[in-house]
């Protein structure tokens, strides 16, 4: 054991454990690879450690993943940028393993290293590596190659550039759909580095091939690339090349392709500019809003506000609004729910009059939806519409909706609406709240589900913060204290919880005069759980009251509890007493 004292011992263990049978120890060593590298020095790291890692590429995937990640930041340990190429061999080996996450990490690390490498090194080492991977025997290497072109291309000499472009185009026609998918995914990144003339010629023809692929999964990714490519092209080229493709895709036989279009359409509008958007993309979007497949309508409905924002309100009213009306009574609850989550945002876009005339009826019908998520989504975005038309127009319908949600038989729905109560309170104003919602807030304190009671207590605190201590004193405190005599101890415990939350908000005066007596009274409860919760509450509120009150009221109460027959009560009261003593001592 004398070796344990040697300073090198921990590092020696780390190195040995690179080959340990236990995967956790190997992983541990790999995560400290930089320590090992520092111990070995830059030269031996290059000449021994890196080749060692390259050789041992048949380890478990978890280990390979960790290695690939570590190597990404390894340039300082091999001697700086001029030696960065030493790191390529192990990462190249990891680029062809079967596990996707390892390959992805290796590609990520290669990109990281490549972006620091000197141009000459890129030409000498990185570009040949990309070519080797692209000509790899197994599809895994070719999949990885696709993600490296955007690093290799910019510094390549002219002849190499031509070759790289043609290699990429071959990858897009690979036998394996996995390779074509990877090529489609990375096309946007690669295209961003290609010169404009080649972009228009080579890349666009590659793109055309991908958009006509047999495999739906490849076409899907080509759609995803549409927007990225569109942004690279001049608007008129985009209109000429990308627009027809996307319009075509929006009528593809496969719902998954149309779904992608629905998700991408908005970004494409930005690329082509307002005029083609109106002429071509709006009709396409309207078709998607009326698609047969609910999934497509969900995707399209989610973008309705964003889309309206780039259109003039006149066009939005004319083209989009009729569809929105249809969607509000869609047969799929998920479509209505998605619509409800974005539709409030249309109000600022359309302005007050249109909102009142067209949107309000839709809001109201969604507020009466049979599916609680739809109603919740409307309520959660109430502030957006309040700024435009004010709440009064909605309040008549709002109240029944809130009451119904508040009494929903699923507790998660009740929980969701409680979360929105402070928002509602701030939007609706104090008078409305007192009249209609105050009773509900009290009612939740006696819910059958603990999570609801807990949320209700928290809700009271947030309301007190919103409306101020005076209001809380008037409207909350009295009602809360009435409930402390509930025959069920669990409800009494909720009240104690509410008291401890309210005390800091209402301030020392109200706490001393109203809350504290109730807590002290509760210390005489027959249930030990109440008693030790009293101790906890006292511990949490003593810092806000005056020291004399602590000595006069709180301490005697705790001392009494600390002699309770129940062990837990004794424990928590002594904890509280200790806390008090600590504060006294320090002050």
């Amino acid at each position: 054991m004398s070796m344990a004292d040697e300073p090198l011992y921990p590092i020696a263990v780390l190195i040995d454990e690179l080959k340990n049978d236990d995967i956790q120890l190997r992983l541990n060593s790999i995560r400290k690879l930089s320590t090992i590298a520092r111990a070995l020095g830059e030269e031996r790291t290059r000449k021994e450690l890196i080749p060692f890692l390259t050789e041992n590429n048949d380890d478990d995937d978890e280990v390979l993943l960790a290695m690939a990640a570590e190597l990404g930041g390894f340039i300082p340990y091999v001697g700086g940028v001029e030696h960065a190429s030493a790191l390529l061999p192990p990462l190249e080996a990891f680029c062809s393993v079967e596990e996707t996450c390892v390959r992805d990490k290796a590609v990520e690390s290669l990109c990281r290293i490549g972006s620091h490498m000197r141009d000459t090194d890129l030409v000498e080492y990185f570009i040949p590596l990309v070519k080797r991977l692209a000509a790899g025997e197994w599809f895994t290497a070719r999949v990885s190659a696709c993600g490296l072109f955007h690093i290799a291309y910019p510094s390549a000499p002219e002849a190499s550039k031509t070759e790289l472009r043609s290699i990429y185009s071959q990858l897009c026609q690979d036998d394996m759909p996995m390779v074509r998918r990877s090529a489609a995914t990375n096309l946007g990144k690669f295209a961003a580095t290609v010169e404009y003339t080649h972009l228009k010629a080579d890349i666009m023809s590659i793109f055309d091939d991908l958009t006509q692929d047999d495999q739906d999964s490849v076409r899907l990714l080509a759609v995803e690339g549409c927007a990225a490519l569109g942004k690279l092209l001049e608007p008129q080229d985009c209109v000429a090349h990308i627009l027809p493709v996307i319009v075509n895709f929006s009528q593809d036989k496969s719902w998954r392709v149309r779904y992608m279009v629905a998700n991408q359409l908005y970004e494409l509008c930005e690329a082509v500019g307002p005029e083609p958007t109106r002429a071509e993309l709006v009709p396409a979007y309207v078709r998607l809003l009326r698609d047969n497949e609910a999934e497509v309508r969900i995707a399209a409905a989610g973008k309705v506000t964003k889309f309206c924002r780039i259109l003039s309100s006149e066009h939005a009213i004319q083209n989009i609004l009729p569809c929105v009306k249809e969607l509000s009574s869609d047969s799929s609850q998920h479509v209505r729910s998605t619509l409800a989550s974005v539709i409030m945002g249309m109000a600022p876009v359309l302005g007050k009059e249109t909102t009142i005339e067209h949107l309000l009826p839709i809001f109201l019908s969604l507020l009466k939806d049979e599916f609680p998520d739809v109603r919740l989504n409307i309520i959660s975005k109430l502030d957006q519409v309040n700024q435009v038309i004010g709440i009064d127009l909605l309040s008549q319908s709002l109240l029944p909706a809130i009451v119904e949600l508040a009494e929903d038989r699923h507790w998660r729905v009740r929980l969701a609406i409680i979360e929105y109560i402070p928002l509602l309170a701030s939007q609706l104003g104090v008078t409305f709240f007192d009249d209609k919602l105050g009773a509900l807030c009290m009612q939740w304190l006696q819910d059958k589900v603990h999570a609801i009671r807990e949320a209700a207590a928290n809700n009271l605190k947030r309301l007190a913060e919103e409306f101020g201590p005076d209001w809380a004193m008037q409207h909350i405190i009295q009602k809360v204290l009435e409930m402390i005599n509930n025959p069920h101890y669990l409800y009494r415990m909720t009240i104690l919880r509410a008291i401890s939350l309210l005390a800091p908000v209402v301030g020392p005066e109200v706490t001393c005069s109203n809350l504290l007596p109730a807590v002290v009274a509760a210390s005489k409860d027959r249930v030990p759980n109440i008693k030790f919760n009293v101790a906890k509450v006292l511990q949490s509120i003593f810092p806000i009251v005056d020291q004399s009150v602590v000595e006069k009221t709180i301490r005697p109460c705790l001392v009494e509890l600390s002699e309770d027959p129940d062990v837990d009560v004794r424990y928590f009261s002594s904890q509280a007493l200790q806390a008090i003593d600590n504060v006294m001592m320090s002050s």
Binding site: M1, M3, E6, L8, Y9, I11, A12, V13, I15, D16, E17, L18, K19, N20, D21, D22, I23, Q24, L25, A39, L40, G41, R44, E48, L49, F52, E55, N56, D58, S96, V97, E98, E99, T100, E137, W138, F139, T140, M176, P177, M178, R181, D214, Q215, D216, S217, D252, K253, S254, W255, R256, V257, N292, E293, A294, E295
Partner: protein, 513 residues
């Protein structure tokens, strides 16, 4: 072995009936040896190249075989794919490895035992010399990787392992703590520590060494990469890979789910035939398969004898089929058994995806997916059993699920029967081939030569509705009583050659022509 068993395929002439010869048997039973239930083979599958064969058994094991007669085992993938093997040699396989894929489980919530029996095996895309496959029992699908791994022999440690605390204690039990190594493939790792006096050199960093691996031996290791569980309420009857290489389906009695190979915690329900009220249930899914090249088409068969083709592009939940294939029953022929024997036990797409072969209890049917009015051909497998349907019902044999297979060129079809017999039919226009073979070392032992019939008239072959093989009651007339306990349920045709692998209880028989 390399004798003159060339098969000359002349495309313009009707195919000559093949002469089947015995090639190999694995797990042959000695006379009088009793078959262990766990050893009974329950799944057979060739991979796409035909260089590998996998079998699964009731004991939850998967056994892999590899082809030995390939000229160049280590050739590049593209070469292997394109090489047209000369037909002078027939495929021969050797045992490669085996692993325990599934273990018996107990579902405590439903108080159900889950058998370990392998229901289906499917091969996935090969990569880096490792092979990948999916295996499933009634409930759980697993994704396996079988790779060659270097046997580690490490030397040049910095620290004598006998003194090191960090190493010694943990390496002794590391294997048993990893469930994915339960098949024992890695238990033979051994250290070769230098036993000579090791001294820790004083002085700086140059003394540190990297351990070096000295062994060049490799061993096969099967690792379970992913488990796709908890997605089926009923028993899984099929799994099938998509041509996109990233998704697959699994089908149980009432639902078909779509998975991504990389994602094991989420699947999408694409077909659901469960009625809201289970009392209204009249039909269950019996088998499902993806089209071999069209990534968006899949077919599933039902217990009512119909095959539905669905288009995944149409809708996220494919309640409505794109095409329906079923045969109208002849009026008047209806009996108590009609519906039972109409149930399709297996469907297979032909290689190009134009034809679908289906097996019901009495027949094999070949369907053209462009013709939904009826099957293009019907082959009667064991018509002589028709009078015995009552007995077969009594002993539950009528519910046996026979598989079927097509040759790689699509010109022949095959399926199993009782008494370890299997039948091969020619399905090319004009072919009258109908051979009965026995899964034994002498496959033609019990075959009664049927007089070759005159070829059919042109008119008849144009309609391409042929019914053959019905009258072959000779075997029965031979005096051999049928043994319903020895049934040949599972068989597979090599993807590119005339070679059939079939399972007779625990034995795997291979034949070639």
């Amino acid at each position: 072995m390399n004798g003159g068993d060339d098969v000359v395929v002349a495309s313009e002439e009707p195919l000559q009936p093949l002469e089947w010869k015995f090639s190999q048997v694995f797990g042959e039973r000695a006379a009088g040896e009793e078959v262990q239930e766990v050893d009974i083979i329950s799944a057979i599958e060739f991979d796409k190249s035909g260089n590998h064969l996998a079998t699964g058994d009731r004991g939850g094991r998967v056994v892999l075989f590899e082809r030995t007669d390939s000229k160049d085992q280590h050739g590049s993938r593209r070469d292997l794919e394109s090489t047209d093997y000369s037909s002078s040699r027939h495929p021969e396989f050797r045992y490669k490895t085996e692993f325990q894929s599934h273990e018996p489980e107990f579902d405590y919530l439903k108080s159900l035992e889950i058998e370990e029996k392998i229901n289906k095996i499917k091969w996935c895309q090969t990569a880096n010399g490792s092979v990948f496959l999916l295996s499933t029992n009634d409930k759980t699908i697993k994704f396996w990787k079988v790779q060659e791994k270097k046997v580690k022999k490490i030397s040049d440690m910095n620290i004598d392992p006998s003194k090191a605390i960090g190493n010694g204690s943990s390496s002794s039990n590391s294997n048993s703590s990893k469930p994915h190594l339960a098949n024992g493939g890695s238990s033979d790792k051994s250290y070769n520590y230098p036993s000579n006096d090791f001294s820790f050199p004083p002085g700086g960093l140059p003394s540190l060494r990297l351990p070096s691996v000295v062994s060049h031996e490799t061993s096969l290791l099967a690792r379970c990469r992913r488990v796709y569980a908890h997605a089926h309420d009923y028993h899984i009857n099929s799994i099938s890979n998509n041509s996109d290489g990233e998704t697959f389906i699994s089908a149980d009695d009432l639902r078909i789910n779509l998975w991504n190979l990389e994602i094991s915690n989420q699947s999408f329900n694409i077909v659901d035939v469960k009625p809201t009220n289970m009392e209204d249930l009249t039909e269950v899914i019996t088998s499902a398969e993806f089209h071999p090249t069209h990534c968006n088409t899949l077919a599933y068969s039902s217990s009512k004898g119909s095959i539905r083709l669905i288009d995944l592009r149409q809708s996220a939940l494919c309640d409505s089929h794109a095409k329906l294939f079923e045969e109208q029953e002849a009026p008047g022929s209806r009996s108590f058994f009609t519906e039972i024997i109409a149930s399709i036990s297996d469907i297979k797409f032909a290689k190009e995806g134009r034809y679908i072969l289906s097996r019901d209890y009495m027949t094999l049917k070949l369907w053209d997916i462009n013709m939904d009015s009826g099957p293009v051909s019907t082959f009667r497998v064991h018509e002589y059993l028709r009078p015995k349907l009552c007995d077969l019902y009594e002993n539950d044999s009528i519910f046996d699920k026979f598989e079927c297979c097509l040759s790689g060129d699509g010109s022949r079809v095959s399926t199993g029967s009782y008494s370890n017999l299997f039948r091969v039919f020619g399905c090319a226009p004009g072919s009258t081939e109908a051979t009965t073979l026995e899964a034994s070392k002498n496959p033609t032992r019990r075959q009664v030569p049927t007089p070759s019939r005159p070829s059919r008239s042109l008119g008849n072959s144009l309609t391409r509705v042929v019914r053959r093989g019905a009258e072959n009651t000779g075997v029965d007339a031979n005096g051999n009583s049928f043994d319903f306990t020895t049934k040949l349920l599972h068989l597979a045709w090599h993807p590119s050659e005339n070679s059939i692998a079939c399972a007779a209880a625990n034995s795997l028989y291979m034949y070639y022509a």
